[in-house]
């Protein structure tokens, strides 16, 4: 049944009309036009659709929009823009850490969650944090380097 649902998406309050069972990913992509959150499997197995809900990583492919009503949702669009990139986005480009790039939105979200709770992760900690995220092109080492690079950059910026 269609109802009005309030969300806070990338810091902005939005109101959408949808069935509360609608997967969050469909609301983000089709109602709000935020195409950065990517459908990979619909099974919570690949991490492509990761978003942050009140700071925690959630699979948008299965989360019913009703379950996140009133909560703060961050998508990859909320991280940065070409003019104001997030250090993680800058680092992915600097390391050229992508081939097809389809997994990158979810990985950026997973990495953001990691750096929010651990500003100085080891390579093993980054790998553990991203273990849910699948990459079929084999860009893992470059992604690990990019996350470490972003973390270093953010630490420097914080102490500057």
């Amino acid at each position: 049944m269609t109802e009005t649902i309030e969300l806070i998406v990338n810091g902005r309050a939005v109101s959408i009309a949808a069935d509360e069972r609608t997967p969050l990913i469909d609301v983000l992509r089709n109602h709000l036009g935020l195409m950065g959150t990517r459908f990979g499997c619909g099974l919570e197995q690949c991490g492509s659709c990761a978003v942050l809900v009140d700071g925690a990583v959630v699979a948008a492919c299965t989360a019913p929009v009703g379950s996140v009503a009133g909560k703060a949702i961050t998508t990859v669009e909320g991280l940065g823009t070409p003019d104001r990139p997030h250090p993680l986005q800058t680092a992915i480009l600097a390391e050229q850490a992508g081939q097809c790039g389809f997994c990158l939105s979810g990985i950026l979200i997973g990495a953001k969650a990691l750096l929010d709770r651990n500003p100085s992760p080891t390579r093993a900690e980054i790998a553990a944090a991203l273990d849910w995220h699948l990459c079929r092109c084999g860009m893992h080492n470059r992604v690990l380097s990019a996350v470490a690079r972003a973390a270093a950059h953010m630490r420097e910026a914080a102490t500057a």
């Binding site: 459908f39 197995q45 690949c46 790998a127 092109c137």
Partner: protein, 708 residues
């Protein structure tokens, strides 16, 4: 008359203006039939074009994979984009440059030798003439055939080629919505498919009421014989419908596949088309012989997201957006499947999840086109479900590779036989291969199964790819058994037969070295004469510190693998280091590659790295499971791939050989990686596993067998 020494793409598309044009706004349109499928090819091709034209890279506007606007270069496959499209663009741009300078020389009444180009500006004796490509564009007719006669720049003068330019496609993938999956056209409808479980199955009942209820939103049901689609403005509704539909459909004529058919060993019992490549076998009586049989299972492309396509049918014209390897061949396939005039079909490529061969991307395009022709005027977007992609994409054929060598007194091969059982590695649609698009099976008068055929040997072969050793092994032959009908559809995947053949060949080389009491590295080097081959192997061994290779059998191992892809393309040598207990932990990989002239070194490294990780995943984890009506591994739990926590450190050295022709790197590292890991695991265990993947069960069996 075009001399046939031109690259194939230029023979097929001889007119210069098909490739290049100077557009208003100071951009040069450079068109390619090759497409960006994750490999970074557009960046490299732009570098080649800008180099020969002496233009800044930012001036190049690439047009890729549009059947109206770009040359027909068939498939983006076989690591040939740089070799074929790159060399075509190089000739086209060099010729264009000469035509412009000739026109300027005519106008200025000076010899051409006085003219040069710097950053797009035309100079005479080094001084600006005030002219450039755009000011002269109206005076130079590019509607002419390429001759290929214009001199190209010598590599010593390159300023862009050889530089690690950043990929042009990547920023949009980090910030934006660059994928076909993200396209939204006005009035677009979403669709999902109820798939025919297998060829020949007939839909005898469909509970449309139950499906509409499950959809939780309005949907249309489009039914064409045994092809069923759910269509709506509401993507959630069609996804719900498609998820529920299989339980509300009754099919007849659904086959049952036994799980045993998923094993490569079952190939031997299937009927095959047999041939001998090379001299007939002539076993020498009393010769010392070593023989062993290796295998790989069926492997899935398993792109990170399911395939999608968008189609519109307006005023009798079909336009399709796709993300596969061959927009032009797909155009022919769609025209044939839909009985449309080829002139009424346009296919455009857009970015998608990584393409490693012939996956579901072509098939979903026909799905979208079929619905579009039934709903003229509306844009139709079809996205496959994850389960659908795993179940219905063509897979890489399982392969069985039996090797036999006769040995001299020193343990060196004098006679070599590779006997190979495999399904086809070419299952394409298009003018060359017939319309082999999945939904055709569900329509009236389904096509007859195509005559079994593999990739021609002249193209590197399919099942026999890299079965021919580069080592001096005496007389060598291949006995090729092309399996006429495999239990599931097989087609091309990254490297084709090279993964299995190099895994087998390189494993067997280690076996022969052990029989000869020789170090595997020294044994190989003694059987090679090609200096480029020797150089990459020595370089990989030196990177890895081969001399610190541990004693084998104690759970730590180091192994080597080598191949020259297709026997004429890129050389790659890989050393792998593993720790083995119950499972394999791949700790480090070193790779040296010689790809001749490298256009973009970081792009080349990126491709090699990706190939190494993907091969490691195939070798350590992957096997398509069969059962029920076909493929039974339908999610990432039943088809696991290598994860972040399992990734080895990788170090890559590119050998500098700029005077050698550029060869592709996308597929070169896969076989050598498989060989290196197989050999490292055998070294660690003191016992060899010859069947992929190298699972816990096989490790335990090998350890027990070695101890028995």
């Amino acid at each position: 008359m075009i001399p046939n020494t031109l690259p194939q793409s230029l023979i097929d598309n001889p007119r210069l203006d098909r490739w290049i044009g100077f557009e208003p706004g100071g951009r040069v349109r450079v068109a390619t039939g090759k497409v960006e499928i994750g490999q970074g090819v557009l960046t490299a091709l732009a570098q080649i074009a800008a180099e020969e034209l002496d233009l800044p890279l930012a001036r190049v506007a690439l047009v890729s994979g549009d059947t109206d606007a770009a040359p027909d270069e068939r498939y983006t496959a076989g690591s040939l984009s740089i070799e074929v499209s790159g060399s075509s663009l190089r000739l086209v741009c060099a010729e264009t440059r000469v035509l412009f300078l000739a026109r300027l020389a005519e106008r200025l009444g000076c010899p051409m030798t006085e003219l040069s180009v710097a950053d797009g500006a035309f100079l005479r004796r080094g001084a600006p003439t005030g002219e450039g490509y755009w000011s002269l564009a109206a005076e130079v007719d590019l509607a002419r055939e390429a001759t290929g006669a214009a001199p190209c720049k010598p590599f010593g003068q390159y300023r862009l080629v050889g530089q690690s330019e950043q990929r042009v496609d990547l920023p949009a993938k980090v910030f934006g919505a660059p994928f076909l999956h993200d396209m939204r056209l006005p009035g677009m409808l979403h669709a999902r498919i109820l798939r025919q479980p297998c060829a020949g199955a007939r839909l005898v009942a469909l509970d449309e009421v139950a499906i509409r209820r499950a959809a939780q939103g309005p949907i249309e049901i489009v039914r064409l014989h045994d092809f069923v689609a759910f269509v709506s403005e509401d993507e959630t509704a069609v996804a719900n419908a498609a998820k529920a539909a299989p339980t509300h459909a009754v099919w007849e004529g659904v086959r049952e596949i036994a799980a045993a058919e998923q094993e490569a060993a079952s190939l031997r019992s299937l009927s095959s088309i047999d041939r001998v490549v090379g001299p007939a076998p002539s076993p020498k009586p009393g010769a010392r012989v070593h023989a062993a049989t290796y295998s790989r299972p069926y492997h899935a492309h398993a792109a990170i997201a399911p395939s999608a396509a968008i189609a519109t049918f307006r005023d009798g014209r079909l336009t399709v957006w796709m993300h596969g390897q061959g927009p032009h061949p797909l155009r022919y396939g769609l025209a044939r499947a839909l009985d449309l005039d080829i002139a009424a079909v346009t296919v455009k490529h857009a970015f998608g999840p990584g393409v490693y061969g012939h996956n579901g991307a072509d098939d979903v395009a026909l799905d979208a086109a079929l619905i579009a022709t039934r709903m003229p005027g509306r844009a139709i977007r079809v996205q496959w479900r994850r389960e659908e992609e795993f179940a219905f994409e063509p897979v890489a054929s399982a392969m069985l590779v039996a090797l036999r060598a006769e040995l001299d007194d020193a343990g060196r091969p004098t006679d070599w036989t590779a006997e190979i059982w495999s399904g086809t590695h070419r299952g394409r649609s298009g003018p060359l291969h017939g319309a082999n698009l999945l939904a055709c099976e569900a329509l009236p008068d389904p096509p007859l199964p195509p005559e079994p055929a593999d990739v021609p040997d002249a193209g590197g072969g399919g099942a026999i790819r890299n079965a021919q050793p580069l080592y001096n092994v005496g007389r060598a032959r291949i006995l090729h058994h092309l399996i006429a009908r495999t239990p599931v559809r097989t087609s091309s995947m990254r490297g084709l037969g090279a993964l299995a053949n190099v895994f087998a060949l390189e494993g067997f080389m280690d076996e022969l070295a052990a029989l000869a009491g020789a170090d595997p590295l020294a044994y190989r080097l003694a059987l090679l004469t090609d200096p480029r081959a020797i150089r990459v192997i020595e370089r990989a061994a030196s990177l890895a510190g081969w001399e610190r290779r541990p004693a084998g059998g104690a759970g730590r191992g180091m192994g080597l693998g080598f191949a020259r892809y297709k026997t004429w393309s890129t050389y790659a040598a890989v050393v792998a280091e593993v720790e083995v207990e119950e499972t394999v932990r791949l700790t480090r990989v070193w790779c040296a590659a010689d790809a001749g002239l490298v256009i973009n070194p970081d792009g080349a490294r990126n491709q090699l790295e990706g190939g190494i990780i993907q091969a490691a995943s195939f070798v350590l984890k992957e096997q398509v499971r069969l059962g029920g009506a076909g493929i039974a591994s339908l999610d990432w739990e039943s088809y696991p791939i290598l994860r972040f926590s399992e990734i080895p450190e990788v170090e890559i050295a590119l050998i500098e050989a700029p005077e050698e022709p550029a060869t592709g790197v996308g597929e070169a590292a896969l076989g050598p990686t498989a060989g290196a890991i197989g050999n490292a695991v055998a070294h660690a265990l003191g016992a060899r596993i010859r069947d992929l993947p190298l699972t816990r069960e096989r490790i335990m069996a090998a350890v027990l067998g070695a101890g028995a």
